[in-house]
Symmetry: D2
Subunit: 342 residues, 4 copies
């Protein structure tokens, strides 16, 4: 619920509302705006006594947020959220941001070669897994902290920002030490202790949609992050599970305009995991931009056939260059642009 204050409400009046809300057993969060301040009442607000709040000095009205998710909804915040990284990359603004890199960090040469080449082609965020959640316990599970250090080195040399995955609550702090964006993977979308820890990390979070998550469930997972005070959340559509066999998942691109309408958070697309097949990544990356995605995250590897994981879906550098060029034209067809370079 949002308690909207009058235009000239005083600080004291706002404070009183905050205290009244807390007194009723809820959390209160002041949201200053250009014209007026609102105070968000956070918690299960089914039984709130709005009369008490509406009768207080300075209060104009109480607005019920009809969606199950609250702080992530457009009802709560009308303007688009723009997540700004240390290297200046903005996600959710008019420019489309591109994140690229190998599935997993494998060794120094691989990640440096990838970062240098991708940086030249215009990507501004480097992806690469150090902790890999793998379906089989016997598959390569990532380099761990060693991988994080290599990513940090690549950032130093290229200026790219780093996005990499955390897989358990205790690992969040470690990842946050090195990364510009903490990725929460599809398998962990409803791993609530992990979300809570990421919500308290102070670092932007990339939240992938779970394989069988409805859009409401996805936005409620994001709500866990915002509920802990982290507003820098980027959503990522990466394909859902259906009966298809020719691609790894079904890329639910309609989710992009749907999310843009329901929420103020930026939403990007991952055509690599959505399709799982190299030759389908470039067309589907273009489609994502055309559908209104705020960014792309794409797997690119210096030598895809030798990749330790996901080689079949990793692009060659030339393909990535083509994707950048085509995406720029498409972005401009809808009055946006491609962020290419810092």
């Amino acid at each position: 619920m949002l308690v909207v204050m009058k235009h000239r409400a005083s600080e004291a009046e706002i404070d009183s509302v905050v205290h009244a809300i807390r007194d009723m057993g809820y959390d209160a969060r002041p949201i200053p705006g250009a014209q007026r301040t609102a105070v968000g009442l956070i918690g299960n607000d089914g039984h709130v006594d709005t009369a008490r709040l509406e009768g207080m000095p300075g209060v104009q009205q109480c607005i019920t947020v009809t969606q199950p998710f609250k702080q992530v909804s457009r009802e709560w915040k009308e303007d688009d959220t723009v997540v700004t990284l240390a290297n200046g990359t903005r996600i959710g603004g008019s420019e489309i941001a591109v994140m690229a890199g190998p599935c997993a960090v494998e060794n120094e040469q691989q990640i440096m070669e990838a970062a240098t080449a991708l940086r030249k082609m215009g990507a501004t965020v480097l992806r690469g897994g150090a902790f890999k959640p793998r379906t089989s316990p016997y598959s390569f599970q990532g380099l761990g902290e060693e991988g994080l250090k290599l990513l940090a080195k690549a950032r130093e040399e290229t200026g790219m920002a780093i996005v990499t995955e955390a897989v358990d609550p205790d690992g969040v702090d470690l990842v946050a030490e090195y990364a510009d964006i903490i990725q929460i993977g599809a398998r962990n979308m409803q791993n609530y202790p992990l979300l809570r820890r990421a919500g308290r990390s102070g670092t932007p979070v990339l939240l992938k949609r779970g394989m069988s998550a409805t859009i409401d469930e996805w936005l409620l997972a994001a709500e866990y992050l915002l509920a802990e005070g982290n507003d820098d959340v980027i959503l990522c559509e990466r394909g859902i599970r259906a009966f298809n066999t020719h691609t790894r998942n079904v890329f639910d691109l309609s989710a992009i305009p749907v999310v843009k309408e329901l929420s103020h958070l930026p939403v990007i697309a991952d055509p690599s995991h959505a399709t799982g097949i190299r030759s389908k990544v470039v067309p589907m990356a273009r489609a994502a931009v055309a559908a209104g995605a705020d960014g792309l995250i794409v797997e690119v590897h210096p030598d895809p056939p030798s990749a330790l994981s996901d080689g079949a879906q990793s692009l060659y550098f030339e393909q990535f260059a083509e994707l950048m060029e085509q995406s720029r034209v498409i972005a401009r067809s809808i009055d946006r642009d491609l962020l290419a370079g810092l």
Copy 2:
């Protein structure tokens, strides 16, 4: 199976191969090519004695088609099939064709107003249902032949080609009398008697993907059409059924590059039925073009709120005009163009 003839094979040698195949209990279909002729062996070819065929004069080799579908596969025919309509519209070539119109033909004024406006904005094929398969027996079921006559009138006045649905084998001939393209709807994708009749109609067929059809099943349905001698088949992705709730279906746009790789047939996209929500149609139409679709089929109504069916997903004229403009730019980003006008 394809029996590839030598470069200088004589007519008599080709004839002998045809007779030998028929003698073995299969159908034979000569496929002349620029360099050489091939003879397609049609039927369940699991037990064919290829030695007998390869030993014949003029035969170079026998090629097994590994896919379950045969004549629709790229192995059978490498070059893209281009379906050309009487008004010159080409589907499957470098230009992207746009089909548009109301869900159902409702009356003369409605269809004429739609046709005139859409023609001006560049659409070259008019869609409109005369026979409507409806989930409830108590819903409006279409005007029947009266609707076909109104479509024909709209064609006369505007030069647009007509695409409209046939729902039973006996109706195919009636629809073929009036239409340039016979549509087979998603519910009827595996209505084999209907497919056989459409395959014998001599009229191009638009084959929508069934709601839960795999791509192989869809191409096998198309095979029924080609098996009856109809090569003018256009495939149409229109969304599949999954667990989502915010859109009517899941628009499986990855199917477009997948089909383009497996088959030589043109494939278009229907963002209206895929999403079911007006505000999502334009972004998803753009995405379809970006993904490589050979055309679009879009519901547009002169007055969407008064539509007798599917009003919620029908575009206003202004939205359609915007879609045309954006699609043109996107088409050009991938070295294609939008066919806008005749």
Copy 3:
């Protein structure tokens, strides 16, 4: 909508209501009951002037049917529908009926051997396809009318009733000449011209659930049959399509108690198509009985490895005998019994 007449309403009063309804542009259908008669108003009843009907002599009240399906709903008819076949088999009563036989009629020996053995083991309805809808145009498509004749011969010799599929409207009359139950297959669940013809055939209909049909869509398809005057409709759950790979479909057994609550029609289960694997058919047949199914339809073949279609899911005779025995015990655990023999 149901117009419920008073306890002592006269014939003349009922007739007046029927005429008034027809006068308003709807169909009317008197439904006599033990205590009182109701008149069903059939058609899209969103705008009916109930005041006019409620003011008529003999009318007690008008009841709106809230479900999208009308005549198939429990609101329309509270008591279970029991479909009775010529050989006395009752489907939908307290006894569970068993239909069994090969996927396709292949030749006289096969169908006679199957019928004789199954009859001895207690099945009272013989299944066998004469017209087979096949995914590939090159697969065996059934014996056609020859197959129907063989089924009729098997009926003569064993007393079993016959259930077999019709695949197009024109074929319905032919199938109805030979069969006790016309089967509408999953691929044709929304083939409305076929449903309408089957609805007018005067023969009981077995309506399989479509591969991706919701329960509402399934019941609306049944409504097409009842809307044409055919009340003898048996529903059949046969598995839905999902992402699974170890079975052919997902057997949605929960649909059985759901349908029993929403509708008065009998519902049976087809564990053969639902699983597609012989070793899973018996356990899932048992599960269907335990879930409350009114019957089973099971593929059994005298020599499964030689079957022309669906051999991998056809039971051996011994397996079928075990299934009958186990199902009887399970039926009794829920105060029902297994109909075994005539």
Copy 4:
């Protein structure tokens, strides 16, 4: 891979094989058997030099496990695994075990009342959530350790064993202190750090199938537990996500015979979460027993309408009693029995 030793292989020979395997960079696990010992080679065994192992004294042969999962497969271990709890409940043997209780532990009175009543009706394992993963951050999240203490108290008073969920790696030890079985919920099926910790806990684990997990993925998740040395793993089918709307999930009961064939682990069924509707729980519980489930886990609440979570799917005591009675008869139809009481 399994290295099968000869009948009379000596301890020293077995030791040599273990060392050789470790020397090759894999883990080795001796599996003593009645007739002979096998040594399991654990890890990604794609490139193992079997010649070296087969040439060693005492080795009879090397068997490749063809499934992606290894230790959970029937190839690895042919006999059914039976998990035995401290109170004597055996899961996976000939008797079907029943776990029952409320969704969440709410207070002492509620859990005691439930435990006492369920114990009398024959359940031997008490379920109840202390840590609840909830879709919304604003929903009741469970009593935490206080809930665990109440469960332990209920165990003391009734002798029932306790199954309750752990939601993060750090919580596993705490849950293991109180519980007889640690539950891993559907949302956490691929939470690998959680699985690893549960695998090292020394406590039996109940692993629910993820909402969109294939059976292979589910068994691979179980492999994480066995790979850490925990053989006491119970699988639980609880419904998968599909397009249905009348039930919460689709209860994939065919998974039960499929899993029993692929794996030696016991598999139970959860009809409460699978259907989400009270009136469907009893029929589907019966169906699960008929399909071959080794046990049931059912939500029962002393006063369902007042439940803090999942009230709509919780059974009344009388319904549970009926379920026990019917399940016993069904179990006996397949030569099993119901474990009712200690």
